[in-house]
Every structure is written in C-alpha cells, then in structure tokens.
C-alpha cells in the first residue's frame, strides 16, 4: 500500500487500565492500516476492546505503548491541548446515544464544532446548512433534541460529525439505540458519506448486520485483533 493512500496506521499499540491494584490489559499489540476512503467495521463481543481502540484512534485516550498515525500525524506524541485542537479539525464523532446538547437546537448542535474553527457566523451557517441538507434534516433544524426521534437525532449527530469536513469519521455503535428502520437509514447515510463524499469511516459495532454494511471488517477478541476471521 502506498504511503499517501494510508490514512490510518496503528503500530504495536498496547493499552491497559488500572483498577485498584489490578492491571487490566485491554489491547495487546494492535497493528492496523487503513486506506483513505475506507469503511471499516470493528467487530467483537462486549469487553473485547473495540471502543477503547476507537477512542485511541479518535485521540480521546492515550496509548501505553505503540504509535497511531492519522493522515501523517503521530497523535500519540501530541499534548492534551494539541490533541483537542487536532480532534476538532480531523475527527467526526457519531455516538450510540447521539449525545446532542439538549439545550441547543439541531442547527445549533451542528454548529457547535465550528465554534472552534474561527469561521465567521455567516460561514458557519453555510457549513451547517450544507451538513444538515446532507442528512435531510432541513425541515427540523429548529427542533430541540427532545422533539426529534432517535433516528432523527442520529442524523443530526452525523451532520455535526461531518460539518468540519474531518479526515475520518468514527462511529461507536451508531445503530445500537435505533430500531431496524432507523438503523437502516443511518447506515444508508453513512454509506453515502463514504461512497459519494469519500469519507473514511471506522465503525464499532457488535451487530453483524450493521457490520456487514461496512466495506471491510476487523475482529477484536480479548484485546487482540484477529485478522483471520
């Protein structure tokens, strides 16, 4: 694989947590490469470490050992502040429970990440309108999260994830809290973001049906990547 095609390169990553005096190994010797424009599903049972790995890729947590390089930036060497800044420009997050801010409207929620970019209000509004139109929520952009269904909230969350035009999108069980129809819509949308807009997506799921919608799949079991499955 040519270097310029690579968007993610994980090399010998280890991660463990301390609980009292106990050390719990969560990830062991993880190495993974991902091409630009890929749509990867990270699968595995509960407690396999897939969310931890996603958090490390998204710069939400620090590795114990190893390196993670995203679009040429070794994020394991970044300070907390630099990492926060890097995240705001390079990572779009889609959570299982949408995680919209309840006191903000759908439009304002989508605008939130742009506050950190230094864009003017007008520019921000243009970006937000574009992102909201991608997820087909123009008619609901003045609604508060509690006035939207789960599927609609997730679409708003996807708009918030893509509004900064990030390098990668990470999704942690994006359909885990949705009924089958809403889940289907969300997966269709993610597929469109990947195919039409070329977004690189890493999705964590334990649902094989959702995982099958991705274009490639990696399995984690007890903190170890199992490439053979």
């Amino acid at each position: 694989m040519r270097n310029e095609d690579l968007i993610l390169s994980i090399d010998n990553v280890y991660k463990s947590y301390h609980r009292d005096s106990q050390i719990i190994r969560v990830l062991e010797d993880i190495s993974l490469e991902l091409k630009r424009g890929a749509f990867l599903a990270l699968m595995g049972p509960s407690g396999s470490g897939k969310s931890t790995l996603l958090n490390l890729i998204a710069g939400l947590d620090q590795v114990d050992q190893g390196t993670i390089e995203i679009d040429g930036v070794n994020i394991t060497t970044l300070s907390e502040t630099d990492l926060a800044r890097w995240r705001s420009f390079n990572v779009g997050f889609i959570f299982q429970f949408y995680n919209l801010i309840p006191v903000l409207t759908a439009f304002e929620n989508v605008e939130l990440p742009l506050l950190l970019t230094g864009l003017s209000k007008r520019e921000r509004q243009e970006h937000v309108s574009a992102a909201i139109s991608v997820v087909n929520m123009e008619d609901r952009d003045g609604h508060y999260p509690n006035q939207l269904s789960g599927g609609q909230q997730q679409r708003v969350a996807i708009a918030r994830a893509i509004v900064t035009d990030p390098t990668i999108l990470v999704a942690d069980e994006p359909t885990g809290d949705l009924d089958r129809t809403s889940a289907e819509n969300v997966l269709d949308l993610m597929d469109r973001l990947n195919c039409d807009l070329g977004k690189t997506i890493i999705m964590v799921t334990h649902d094989p049906w959702a995982g099958n919608r991705a274009h490639s799949m990696e399995h984690l079991d007890k903190g170890v990547l199992n490439h053979d499955l």
Binding site: T52, N55, A58, L60, D61, T81, A84, R85, R87, S88, F89, F93, F95, Q96, F97, N99, I101, P102, V103, L104, E108, E111, L112, P113, L115, L116, R160, D177
Partner: protein, 384 residues
C-alpha cells in the same frame, strides 16, 4: 454560542435554579441589611468632622464641667469656635417616645454644625428665642410637629415639664446626617435649674470645639487637657470621631456578632450554590465529555460552568440588592428610633456585588475542575 449554552444551562432545571436564586437573593438581602445595621451604628462616626473636638469630664460624661472653662479653651492656640451643651434626656408624652435632646448654646453650635441646613428665618428665630427649639425633619414628621407648635418635654435628669416653641426644622446636608435630634437653648435650661438647684448651675456636659485644621487635633487636645490638670474637674479632649467611636465601642460585641452572622450567611449560600453547581455538573458530565470530544478545551468548559454559576448568583445578587431597599425602608420605619439614619451606602452595594461575584466564582471552581479533569472516555460512559 458559549453564552447561549451557559444561559440555557442555568435555567435547565427551573425549580432548582429558582430556589438557588431565591436563596442567593435572601442571602444578599440579609448581608446588605446586616451591613446597613452596622453602618447605622457607625453613622455618628461617619458624620464626625475632623476639625471638631469634644471635651468632657475625664472621669465620666455623667460629671459636668464648669462653664468658665469656655474662656480658657477659647484662648488656646488653634481653637476657632467653642460651643457647649448638655444631654437633657427628656421625652415627649410617653417614655417610649424616646429621641436625643440637647441643651446647647445655639449660635456657636449651629456655626459648628453647618451640615444642619435651616432656612434663614427659622435660624434667626431659633437663636433669638430663649424658649425656642430646633428639631430634625424626621423627628418633626414623626410627631407631626410644625414651626410655631408648642412642644412639651418631660425631663428625666432635669425633672418637670419643659415647654418649647418649635422655631425651626433642620434637614441634613447629606443622607448621613441624623434628622431626629432636638436642640434648645442651654440658657433656658441653666436659668430654670437656677430656680431650683443652684449648685448645678453654670455647668455643661461637654464642649464642642472647632480647630483650624485636623493636623493640630492631637496637640490642641493635649493643650486643653493640660490647662485643667489638677483642677477639680479634669478634662478629656478627643476628636469628635474618637468620641463617637467610644460610644460604638460599648456595643462592640453586638457589632462583631452581626459581622460574624453576615459572614455565616454568605458561607451558607456559598455551599448552597456550590451544591447546585455540583449537582448540575455531575448530571451533565457526559455533555462536557462530548464537548471535549469535539475539541472544546479546558478554558471553554471552565467558562461554561463558571459562567452558569455567575448567571445564577448575579440574578440572585441583583434581586437581593434591589430587595434591600424596600426592606431597609421597612426596617427603618419599624426601628427608626434606634437607628435614626438607616441608609444603604454605596459601599454596602459594592460589597453585595463583590460577594455575589465571589460566591459565583468559588461555587463554580470545584465543579469546573471536575468537568475539566474527567477523562473523556469515562465521561462518555455516564451517558445512556
């Protein structure tokens, strides 16, 4: 947008916010009232002039000084005007209708106290009528007196019924001036005493002295006291401020207690607001984790939480400050005879605001620290 979030967050849990704002209002109201009570205690000190000295008997105010001292004091370098007077201790109709009343040498006394503003014609009539009296506007309003009325006081120190003709009503030059005083001619008192108790005549309770400038207060006081050393009635001279502080010192324990209570009130509201903020942040720790995920940094999260804390305390503080005015008016009406001047000072309002801001900041510090330091992954786990 940050301000929009913090404002909306502040009113997210309406009942909790309402109760906290009410608590803050009551705390600031109480703090302001207690401060005003303390100020009222010190009002005599505040109204004192740096160029006025008070000379009294060195043993006690109860013992009087010969009138003859006046001429000796006048001759001391730096002395400009000498006046004198007596505490009369009379009451009007009923003993509970207490107010301060003094027999003074009217002309020199009014020269010494230009802060008593009197219409010229009333001043002339008061000074020239030996049975005339001068009262403050609040006192006249309290008893419905008007110029020309005959006012009869019952003496306690100087027994009997004493009739006066109300010749003038003064107003204070500023809000700090006591408008509940009653003055009449010392000569009238002295002559009446002469008829009954000849031994007590030609004695005064105190001398009030105006000096050229405040810098010579110490040496002039010393010179006055030196002049009467080893006499039958030695003197104690001090600045008017020190004299007034002597009275305040008698109530020092009460004042200290009031100060302590006002601090306790603030401490309690600090805990209440901190608890409100702590609960709010604990409930929203997942949202702060989301904001951090999106790239919001520590200072922005801190601004959100401290700002919310400030919004709550400022609304409560301003409400409390506004409510202090009618409360002070009501308090003044209820206990006006004990606190003739009961005004909310600018300093009290500044203190109210400073306390509001301090409570807002302190109450937000710990919750903000908690939100900033919580690991994102841990915060996200709290959702769902």
């Amino acid at each position: 947008m940050i301000f929009k979030i913090l404002f909306r967050n502040a009113f997210r849990h309406k009942l909790r916010t309402f109760l906290t704002v009410c608590g803050m209002s009551v705390a600031i109201l109480s703090f302001g009232m207690l401060r005003t009570v303390i100020d009222a205690w010190y009002i005599g000190v505040e109204a004192s002039s740096e160029t006025r000295l008070v000379t009294r008997n060195s043993i006690s105010l109860v013992f009087r000084l010969p009138l003859a001292y006046r001429d000796t004091i006048r001759r001391i370098e730096g002395v400009e005007i000498v006046s004198y007077g007596n505490w009369f201790g009379g009451y009007y109709i009923d003993e509970k209708d207490f107010f301060a009343n003094f027999a003074v040498e009217p002309k020199s006394y009014l020269e010494l106290y230009p802060e008593y503003v009197i219409p010229d014609d009333q001043r002339i009539k008061f000074v020239s009528d030996r049975k005339g009296c001068l009262v403050g506007k609040k006192l006249a309003d309290r008893f419905g007196w008007s110029v020309g009325d005959i006012v009869t006081l019952t003496g306690t120190i100087f027994p009997g019924k004493w009739d006066f003709i109300l010749r003038g009503i003064y107003e204070g030059r500023d809000k700090n001036i006591d408008e509940t005083l009653f003055f009449f001619h010392w000569d009238y008192l002295n002559e009446s005493i002469k008829k009954n108790q000849s031994t007590s005549t030609d004695h005064v309770g105190f001398y009030i002295i105006r000096i050229e400038n405040p810098y010579i207060a110490a040496e002039t006081s010393e010179a006055i006291d030196e002049s009467f050393k080893n006499s039958l009635a030695e003197t104690l001279t001090e600045t008017e401020k020190a004299f007034q502080l002597g009275f305040v010192a008698m109530s020092e324990a009460i004042i200290k207690a009031i100060q302590l209570i006002s601090l306790v009130v603030i401490f309690i509201i600090l805990i209440v607001v901190a608890n409100t903020m702590g609960m709010s942040v604990r409930e929203r720790i997942g949202e702060y984790a989301v904001l951090k995920t999106l790239g919001f940094r520590a200072r922005q999260i801190t601004l959100l939480i401290m700002g919310e804390s400030m919004v709550i305390t400022i609304i409560g503080g301003i409400t409390g400050i506004i409510l202090t005015f009618p409360a002070a008016r009501g308090f003044s009406l209820a206990v006006g005879k004990f606190f003739p001047v009961f005004n909310i000072t600018g300093e009290t309002m500044y203190l109210d605001m400073a306390v509001t801001v301090t409570v807002g900041l302190l109450a937000g510090i710990f919750p903000a620290y908690r939100a900033v330091t919580v690991r994102i992954a841990e915060g996200l786990r709290r959702i769902g």
